[in-house]
Amino acid sequence: MSKSKLMQGFSQKEVNELINDYEFTCHTIVTMENIVSYNINGKCSQGKKMRTSANNAIQPNNDVTPDMVIEATHEDDEYHAVNEITVNLPKDESLWIKKAEQLKKYDDELTGWDKTSTKRHDIMLTTNPARTFAFRNYMSKLESEGKLKIERNLAILQSSPMEQSNSFIFIKKEYGQITHPVLDNKLSNGLPVARHNILNEINQMKFFDSNPPIIYTMMIIWDHILKNFLSLKQLRELRGNKIVPIEVTITQVHDLLSKFAPLTNSTCIETSWIKDALTGFVEIGLAEIKSESEGKFEIKFRTNRGKTRHWLFEKIKKPEKIEKPSKTLDEFIPNKENKKDEISKKD
């Protein structure tokens, strides 16, 4: 494999942006959970499977998994909503139809709620403030052209970072109606939640049910996971700048990394994400594949003095040793096609 191929398509700037977006999405999910819990004593579930009806316009009689299912008791009845959280909705409107269809998929008599309700559920889309107006117009256009119409209440919310002396996540309803009056009122005014006040939650939830940037997973594995496989004797060997081999399997890493999955969706971290990250270490000469069938890798662990992200970037540019990689680094960076996938997360 040629060195130039390794370098192809790699952009540090893009990786940095993807990591920012990924972490911001995690924080937005936690913030929304906090708002629902604090203001209406409701419950949010991630990864909850709902069932569509035979009349579903997009996917009849099928399981769907909205990013967030909201349930709360209100005036002797149940309030229900689903919330799609897509903070990185791309600028290119031609990519939005999948998102519109995804929302339409939820515009149905879904089953799977904890308690039944006499009312229809709401549908929410939470995105960045630069897209709310355009996306509302886009949905109106689909409706006026007779292509797609959402029958239920569709509320479009913005989530944005707000920096003052404290760092906040600010969520505000920009368009549409929420049938829960308290939630509607609160979100119409906009709610800032201090990140410090949800510190334990944002610290715990480092993943949600969308493929993270590989470098992000690699950094977490390097700092928090691999050290669990080292004895004190091996740690002392590291002080002499020695390389200490650590044999790990995808399953072992997965078991530990699951600590960082959402509490209501503890199985959302996919083994393929871990395989990609461990293969990334192979690509840059920090690991070897020991057994493909067993998913076993040998990490050449060593002391890295400095900033790990830069260190990995440097190794991507100039790998220590090239084994036979099963993937190229082109796959580290989602290209346009990957971005399309990103906005149409698995459901």
Binding site: E163, S167, N200, N304
Partner: protein, 373 residues
């Protein structure tokens, strides 16, 4: 008092049945001779004698004589293929704080640092140093002055200026004849951290309108709990050390609880609160992250550095790891992950106090936000 050879027998060879009998001997030795005693406090959760017997780092060898609670370690370090340096040190288990040991020697202070302190550091994290803050050092001097009723004058202080963004730490040795209060005020005013202070404690008499000063004892107090003394050992062992242990142990206990929570799903955050809103100027965030990176044998992964800070850090010395967050203008939170040692957390917190700003560890609590929207 007896010759050096004699006092070396009584200091290093003789078997003492109790800690008090050994400390009494040292008190007499210091009072009646010109011997300077060096003393390092270390903390460990294991039997230190056993630890020193069971493992020696590369280039070091240790021979033990006598047994806990007072034993002698003869430490030899190979410096070249044919050159070795040897020093002796008495290791004393503290009679009140069982996790604390006092390592005592009359050797040259350079040899003490290169052999005794280095050996203890090589045993990290099983053995770790105890750190004091600027403020705690000042409190120790307050107590020393109050209890001895002597005048404490600083001969010189070794301080380092916080220079965010600059890798080189600027050490500054300041010779003064000022009171310790004046020296600490200047240190705070110049945003420095104190490494060590050499002082003398004097009685002042006015004879025929002339001030006459007599030095009762002198010594060094350092941030890493290295002490020395001349002329009188009692103030060191009866006032300075107990107070230093007491001050540091409050923070250590706080960090121990956090370290032990590392394996929990939501580990307990250690929150450092600063008096000033030091994180208001977000243009300095990168400098603060760079300062974190400077902690020896660690690496830092940046997830976000502007406007808020979120990094993770691994301490390669013992495999502790953390998430570090700055989400408000006056607080920094450290959250251990999977496993962390008290030694590592103490080292990290001391580093933050040195390189970023001195603060106070507090319980995590939600803040009043008063967001402007």
């Amino acid at each position: 008092m007896s010759s050096k050879k004699d006092h070396h027998y009584w200091l290093y060879e003789h078997k003492y049945e109790t800690v008090d009998s050994f400390l009494n001997y040292v008190s007499g030795l210091v009072r009646e001779s010109n011997v300077r005693i060096n003393l390092l406090l270390v903390t460990t959760m294991v039997n230190l004698q056993q630890e020193l017997v069971e493992w020696s780092p590369d280039k070091f060898s240790v021979e033990i004589k006598n047994n806990e609670p007072v034993f002698t370690a003869q430490i030899t370090k190979k410096v070249d293929s044919d050159k070795k340096i040897t020093v002796k040190a008495v290791v004393v288990k503290h009679p009140i704080y069982p996790a604390v040991y006092m390592v005592i020697s009359d050797c040259d202070s350079g040899d003490f640092k290169n052999l005794v302190t280095k050996l203890m550091n090589k045993h990290y994290p099983v053995v770790s140093q105890i750190y004091l803050t600027n403020n705690e050092m000042r409190l120790i001097f307050d107590k020393l002055q109050r209890e001895t009723n002597l005048d404490i004058t600083v001969e010189f202080s070794v301080g380092k200026k916080r220079l965010p963004g600059k890798k080189k730490k600027e050490s500054q040795v300041t010779y003064t004849n000022q009171t310790y209060l004046e020296v600490f005020d200047e240190i705070v005013a110049h945003d420095q951290w104190v490494q060590s202070i050499r002082y003398r404690a004097e009685t002042i008499k006015i004879v025929e309108n002339l001030e006459s000063r007599t030095t009762e004892f002198m010594g060094v107090i350092s941030r890493t709990c290295f002490f020395s003394c001349k002329k009188d050992f009692s103030p060191l062992v009866k006032i300075i050390i107990p107070h230093a242990i007491k001050l540091a142990s409050v923070r250590n206990e706080y960090l121990k609880i956090r370290a032990e929570s590392a394996s929990e799903l939501k580990p307990k955050p250690a929150v450092i609160k600063f008096d000033d809103d030091i994180f208001t100027d977000i243009s300095k965030n990168q400098q603060y992250v760079d300062a974190l990176v400077e902690l020896d044998s660690c690496s830092v992964s940046e997830y976000h550095t502007n406007p808020y800070i979120h990094v993770s850090m691994i301490d390669y010395l013992d495999g502790s790891s953390y998430d570090i967050w700055v989400l408000t203008s006056d607080r920094l939170a450290i959250i251990p992950q999977f496993k962390a040692t008290t030694a590592s957390m103490t080292r990290l917190v001391n580093h933050i106090f040195e390189r970023i700003h001195e603060g106070e560890v507090i319980e995590y609590e939600q803040i009043e936000t008063n967001a402007r929207i």
